[in-house]
Symmetry: C2
Subunit: 112 residues, 2 copies
Protein backbone atom coordinates (compact mmCIF):
# COMPACT_ATOMS: atom_id res chain seq x y z
CA UNK A 1 0.00 0.00 0.00
CA UNK A 2 1.26 3.43 -0.87
CA UNK A 3 -1.15 6.15 0.07
CA UNK A 4 -0.72 9.82 -0.71
CA UNK A 5 0.58 11.98 2.11
CA UNK A 6 -1.60 14.87 3.11
CA UNK A 7 0.79 17.27 1.44
CA UNK A 8 0.57 15.36 -1.82
CA UNK A 9 -3.20 15.20 -1.72
CA UNK A 10 -3.46 18.89 -0.90
CA UNK A 11 -1.20 19.89 -3.77
CA UNK A 12 -2.90 17.65 -6.31
CA UNK A 13 -6.22 19.19 -5.33
CA UNK A 14 -4.80 22.70 -5.56
CA UNK A 15 -3.60 21.96 -9.09
CA UNK A 16 -7.04 20.65 -9.98
CA UNK A 17 -8.70 23.70 -8.56
CA UNK A 18 -6.44 26.21 -10.27
CA UNK A 19 -6.79 24.53 -13.65
CA UNK A 20 -4.93 26.60 -16.26
CA UNK A 21 -3.46 28.85 -13.57
CA UNK A 22 -1.65 26.12 -11.66
CA UNK A 23 1.93 27.30 -11.27
CA UNK A 24 4.20 27.49 -8.23
CA UNK A 25 3.43 30.88 -6.79
CA UNK A 26 -0.29 30.51 -7.33
CA UNK A 27 -0.38 27.05 -5.84
CA UNK A 28 1.43 28.31 -2.79
CA UNK A 29 -1.08 31.13 -2.41
CA UNK A 30 -4.04 28.83 -2.95
CA UNK A 31 -2.87 26.34 -0.36
CA UNK A 32 -2.36 29.03 2.21
CA UNK A 33 -5.75 30.59 1.56
CA UNK A 34 -7.54 27.27 1.76
CA UNK A 35 -5.82 25.51 4.63
CA UNK A 36 -3.60 28.08 6.31
CA UNK A 37 -0.54 26.01 5.47
CA UNK A 38 2.44 28.19 4.51
CA UNK A 39 5.42 27.42 2.33
CA UNK A 40 8.51 29.52 1.87
CA UNK A 41 8.81 31.13 -1.55
CA UNK A 42 10.78 28.30 -3.07
CA UNK A 43 9.56 25.61 -0.74
CA UNK A 44 6.49 24.74 -2.74
CA UNK A 45 8.56 23.34 -5.61
CA UNK A 46 10.08 20.57 -3.55
CA UNK A 47 6.87 18.55 -3.14
CA UNK A 48 5.61 19.60 -6.58
CA UNK A 49 8.71 18.22 -8.27
CA UNK A 50 8.36 15.05 -6.28
CA UNK A 51 4.81 14.64 -7.57
CA UNK A 52 6.07 15.10 -11.11
CA UNK A 53 8.78 12.53 -10.56
CA UNK A 54 6.18 10.10 -9.26
CA UNK A 55 3.98 10.63 -12.29
CA UNK A 56 1.06 12.32 -10.53
CA UNK A 57 1.66 15.67 -12.16
CA UNK A 58 3.11 16.80 -15.42
CA UNK A 59 4.65 20.18 -16.00
CA UNK A 60 5.68 22.47 -18.81
CA UNK A 61 6.82 26.03 -19.18
CA UNK A 62 4.12 28.47 -20.18
CA UNK A 63 4.46 30.23 -23.49
CA UNK A 64 6.76 33.22 -23.48
CA UNK A 65 4.46 35.73 -25.12
CA UNK A 66 2.00 36.32 -22.36
CA UNK A 67 2.20 40.08 -22.54
CA UNK A 68 3.47 40.59 -19.03
CA UNK A 69 6.75 41.11 -17.23
CA UNK A 70 8.80 38.43 -15.62
CA UNK A 71 9.96 34.91 -15.99
CA UNK A 72 7.64 32.36 -17.65
CA UNK A 73 5.39 30.28 -15.44
CA UNK A 74 5.91 26.59 -15.00
CA UNK A 75 2.43 25.13 -15.27
CA UNK A 76 1.32 21.89 -13.66
CA UNK A 77 -1.45 19.52 -14.68
CA UNK A 78 -2.67 16.39 -13.00
CA UNK A 79 -2.21 13.04 -14.77
CA UNK A 80 -4.70 10.20 -14.90
CA UNK A 81 -2.50 8.41 -12.38
CA UNK A 82 -2.79 11.47 -10.15
CA UNK A 83 -6.56 11.46 -10.46
CA UNK A 84 -6.68 7.79 -9.57
CA UNK A 85 -4.50 8.44 -6.53
CA UNK A 86 -6.85 11.19 -5.41
CA UNK A 87 -9.85 8.89 -5.69
CA UNK A 88 -8.01 6.25 -3.71
CA UNK A 89 -6.94 8.74 -1.05
CA UNK A 90 -10.47 9.98 -0.61
CA UNK A 91 -11.80 6.49 -0.26
CA UNK A 92 -9.16 5.59 2.32
CA UNK A 93 -9.96 8.73 4.23
CA UNK A 94 -13.61 7.81 4.44
CA UNK A 95 -12.61 4.38 5.72
CA UNK A 96 -10.46 5.95 8.41
CA UNK A 97 -13.37 7.96 9.73
CA UNK A 98 -16.07 5.36 9.26
CA UNK A 99 -17.83 3.58 12.09
CA UNK A 100 -16.19 5.22 15.05
CA UNK A 101 -17.68 4.28 18.42
CA UNK A 102 -20.65 6.45 19.31
CA UNK A 103 -19.07 8.20 22.33
CA UNK A 104 -16.14 9.24 20.17
CA UNK A 105 -18.41 10.58 17.48
CA UNK A 106 -20.09 12.73 20.11
CA UNK A 107 -16.79 14.11 21.30
CA UNK A 108 -15.78 14.89 17.78
CA UNK A 109 -19.01 16.45 16.67
CA UNK A 110 -19.46 18.82 19.58
CA UNK A 111 -16.60 20.52 21.37
CA UNK A 112 -16.01 18.14 24.24
Amino acid sequence: MNMLSRTEEMLLLAVCRLQTEAFGINIRKEVEALTGKRYSVGGIYVPLDRLVKKGFLSTKTGRATENRLGRPKRLFTISSVGLAALREARSLYEAMWASLPEPVVKQLTFSG
Copy 2:
Protein backbone atom coordinates in the same frame (compact mmCIF):
# COMPACT_ATOMS: atom_id res chain seq x y z
CA MET B 1 -0.79 26.61 11.00
CA ASN B 2 0.19 23.14 12.11
CA MET B 3 -2.04 20.48 10.65
CA LEU B 4 -1.89 16.80 11.49
CA SER B 5 -0.07 14.58 9.02
CA ARG B 6 -2.10 11.76 7.58
CA THR B 7 -0.18 9.32 9.73
CA GLU B 8 -1.05 11.24 12.85
CA GLU B 9 -4.70 11.50 11.95
CA MET B 10 -4.88 7.82 11.09
CA LEU B 11 -3.30 6.79 14.38
CA LEU B 12 -5.45 9.07 16.49
CA LEU B 13 -8.52 7.62 14.84
CA ALA B 14 -7.28 4.08 15.36
CA VAL B 15 -6.81 4.80 19.06
CA CYS B 16 -10.33 6.20 19.23
CA ARG B 17 -11.73 3.20 17.47
CA LEU B 18 -9.95 0.63 19.61
CA GLN B 19 -10.94 2.32 22.85
CA THR B 20 -9.71 0.20 25.79
CA GLU B 21 -7.78 -2.09 23.45
CA ALA B 22 -5.55 0.59 21.96
CA PHE B 23 -1.98 -0.68 22.30
CA GLY B 24 0.85 -0.94 19.78
CA ILE B 25 0.30 -4.30 18.21
CA ASN B 26 -3.45 -3.84 17.98
CA ILE B 27 -3.14 -0.38 16.52
CA ARG B 28 -0.77 -1.69 13.91
CA LYS B 29 -3.21 -4.43 12.99
CA GLU B 30 -6.17 -2.08 12.94
CA VAL B 31 -4.42 0.39 10.65
CA GLU B 32 -3.46 -2.32 8.22
CA ALA B 33 -6.96 -3.80 8.15
CA LEU B 34 -8.58 -0.44 7.60
CA THR B 35 -6.26 1.28 5.15
CA GLY B 36 -3.79 -1.36 3.96
CA LYS B 37 -0.94 0.65 5.42
CA ARG B 38 1.72 -1.61 6.98
CA TYR B 39 4.22 -0.89 9.72
CA SER B 40 7.09 -3.08 10.79
CA VAL B 41 6.61 -4.70 14.20
CA GLY B 42 8.29 -1.92 16.11
CA GLY B 43 7.66 0.83 13.60
CA ILE B 44 4.27 1.77 14.93
CA TYR B 45 5.73 3.11 18.18
CA VAL B 46 7.73 5.86 16.52
CA PRO B 47 4.73 7.95 15.44
CA LEU B 48 2.77 6.93 18.54
CA ASP B 49 5.48 8.23 20.83
CA ARG B 50 5.61 11.39 18.82
CA LEU B 51 1.90 11.90 19.36
CA VAL B 52 2.40 11.41 23.08
CA LYS B 53 5.22 13.92 23.10
CA LYS B 54 3.00 16.43 21.32
CA GLY B 55 0.22 15.93 23.83
CA PHE B 56 -2.31 14.33 21.49
CA LEU B 57 -2.15 10.96 23.19
CA SER B 58 -1.42 9.78 26.67
CA THR B 59 -0.12 6.36 27.52
CA LYS B 60 0.25 4.05 30.48
CA THR B 61 1.19 0.46 31.04
CA GLY B 62 -1.71 -1.91 31.48
CA ARG B 63 -2.08 -3.74 34.76
CA ALA B 64 0.08 -6.81 35.17
CA THR B 65 -2.61 -9.25 36.30
CA GLU B 66 -4.46 -9.75 33.09
CA ASN B 67 -4.38 -13.51 33.24
CA ARG B 68 -2.46 -14.04 30.06
CA LEU B 69 1.09 -14.67 28.92
CA GLY B 70 3.50 -12.03 27.80
CA ARG B 71 4.66 -8.55 28.47
CA PRO B 72 2.14 -5.93 29.64
CA LYS B 73 0.45 -3.76 27.06
CA ARG B 74 1.12 -0.08 26.77
CA LEU B 75 -2.28 1.47 26.34
CA PHE B 76 -2.95 4.75 24.56
CA THR B 77 -5.80 7.19 25.00
CA ILE B 78 -6.55 10.35 23.11
CA SER B 79 -6.40 13.68 24.93
CA SER B 80 -8.77 16.59 24.54
CA VAL B 81 -6.05 18.32 22.54
CA GLY B 82 -5.96 15.26 20.30
CA LEU B 83 -9.70 15.36 19.80
CA ALA B 84 -9.54 19.03 18.92
CA ALA B 85 -6.78 18.33 16.41
CA LEU B 86 -8.93 15.64 14.81
CA ARG B 87 -11.84 18.01 14.45
CA GLU B 88 -9.57 20.60 12.90
CA ALA B 89 -8.03 18.07 10.53
CA ARG B 90 -11.41 16.92 9.35
CA SER B 91 -12.54 20.45 8.73
CA LEU B 92 -9.41 21.27 6.76
CA TYR B 93 -9.87 18.14 4.73
CA GLU B 94 -13.36 19.17 3.76
CA ALA B 95 -12.03 22.56 2.74
CA MET B 96 -9.40 20.93 0.55
CA TRP B 97 -12.02 19.00 -1.34
CA ALA B 98 -14.71 21.67 -1.44
CA SER B 99 -15.81 23.48 -4.57
CA LEU B 100 -13.63 21.79 -7.13
CA PRO B 101 -14.35 22.76 -10.72
CA GLU B 102 -17.14 20.67 -12.22
CA PRO B 103 -15.01 18.89 -14.86
CA VAL B 104 -12.62 17.77 -12.15
CA VAL B 105 -15.44 16.49 -9.98
CA LYS B 106 -16.59 14.37 -12.93
CA GLN B 107 -13.14 12.90 -13.41
CA LEU B 108 -12.91 12.12 -9.75
CA THR B 109 -16.36 10.64 -9.36
CA PHE B 110 -16.22 8.27 -12.28
CA SER B 111 -13.12 6.50 -13.43
CA GLY B 112 -11.91 8.81 -16.18
